[in-house]
Symmetry: C2
């Protein structure tokens, strides 16, 4: 860990040259994915970006503001990777499976060096009352709500055969993705993603696109695999 | 969060009078369950226990040693709450369900103020190489291995009807308990435990002891609910 902290978590020249607010926040979210929001001091971020502490204070004002901005960046990347590309798909089973598959793939590709920064910061702040936890709790409700909505649509349309409530199944899908993410970080054993896929397929039917291969958005008119 | 830090995470006179190593470590694990191992400075622990920094240095030597000792305490309590009381039960479905139920109950009772300290520290350190992560990864393998072993026994004895590998089902049970723990911390919505119970019951059959009510250890001779 010492060595990594000295060379910087991103280890890239690009990061050290970060100048725009969005570049700085991407570095911040990468740091947070590994060492947490509490590991994200202004000093640490200065070291990672090559910017001065005073310049970073000018950007963010305080560690608390930096934490909140970093959470927004973590949520933005999660949304851009998992939610936005699937927004145009038909509601129901197709979109649900695509979102689950994209989520697992995003965790496995380590878009952030410590896995999903949304997941990492959620667990870090789960028992710390304040604006950071409130924002992460809200975002978790929204994400689980997206899953739930597609499950309900899929059930009503007869696309899936589920004898549980959408709320129950959404909890289970979220549990599988979250756990695959942190277990992979802990063990470096990528079979956890396959286990999550198997369990998700048992809960909502198999993913039609195949492991880690996505249909183009025109695939929305594919028949349901059920 | 400020108010809690000032009054101490444990908020008890007992904690402030902690003098023995085991009392100090119980306070340390309570702090870690809320604010993480990184939030557990010697100074913070001095404030929580009422002991001097120099006295705590004499006990632990360094923050790293304190982190490792705190992880051992987290694991000790987890084992005492979940594993040890079920050790004498017959291998297989009865012990498996009792362990799952005890695990959820231990998380819901908040034996540590921030939920399961083993879970919290595992996720905190999942992407930070070093002795702390190694220990937590080993303990996770052991815990999931205990679940897996009872699942295999239950399958071989025909106590459960499962069309998946023990490894797969153990991953799923672990995902459900972990997620119920952190989602409860994040949302304060205790229905997550009922969701975890429902999903576990679907995976391995219902818990015979009823929600949050345990058989006495003499209950090992009860018939299997399958």
């Amino acid at each position: 860990m010492q060595a990594r902290q000295e060379t910087g978590v991103t280890g890239s020249r690009h990061a050290r040259g970060a100048r725009t607010r969005s570049e700085i926040l991407r570095v911040a979210a990468s740091v947070a994915s590994v060492d947490g929001l509490e590991g994200l001091s202004i000093g640490r971020l200065a070291n990672e970006t090559g910017l001065s502490k005073s310049g970073l204070f000018a950007h963010f004002g305080s560690k608390h503001e930096l934490q909140l901005a970093t959470v927004e960046e973590a949520l933005r990347v999660f949304s851009a990777e998992v939610v936005a590309p699937t927004r145009a798909l038909p509601e129901g089973a197709i979109r649900l499976r695509e979102r689950c598959e994209r989520w697992l793939d995003y965790c496995e590709r380590e878009v952030f060096p410590g896995g999903c920064a949304f997941a990492a910061t959620s667990v870090e702040f789960d028992s710390r009352p304040g604006a950071v936890r409130d924002r992460l709790a809200q975002a978790t409700r929204e994400w689980v709500g997206l899953l739930e909505s597609d499950i309900a649509t899929a059930m009503n349309a007869g696309q899936v055969c589920i004898a549980e409530s959408p709320e129950q199944i959404a909890f289970e899908l979220n549990a599988l993705g979250m756990t695959a993410n942190w277990q992979y970080q802990l063990s470096r054993d990528s079979s956890v993603f396959e286990k999550a896929r198997r369990a998700m397929a048992r809960a909502i039917g198999p993913y039609a696109g195949g492991t880690r291969s996505f249909r183009p958005s025109g695939g929305a008119d594919h028949g349901d695999a059920e």
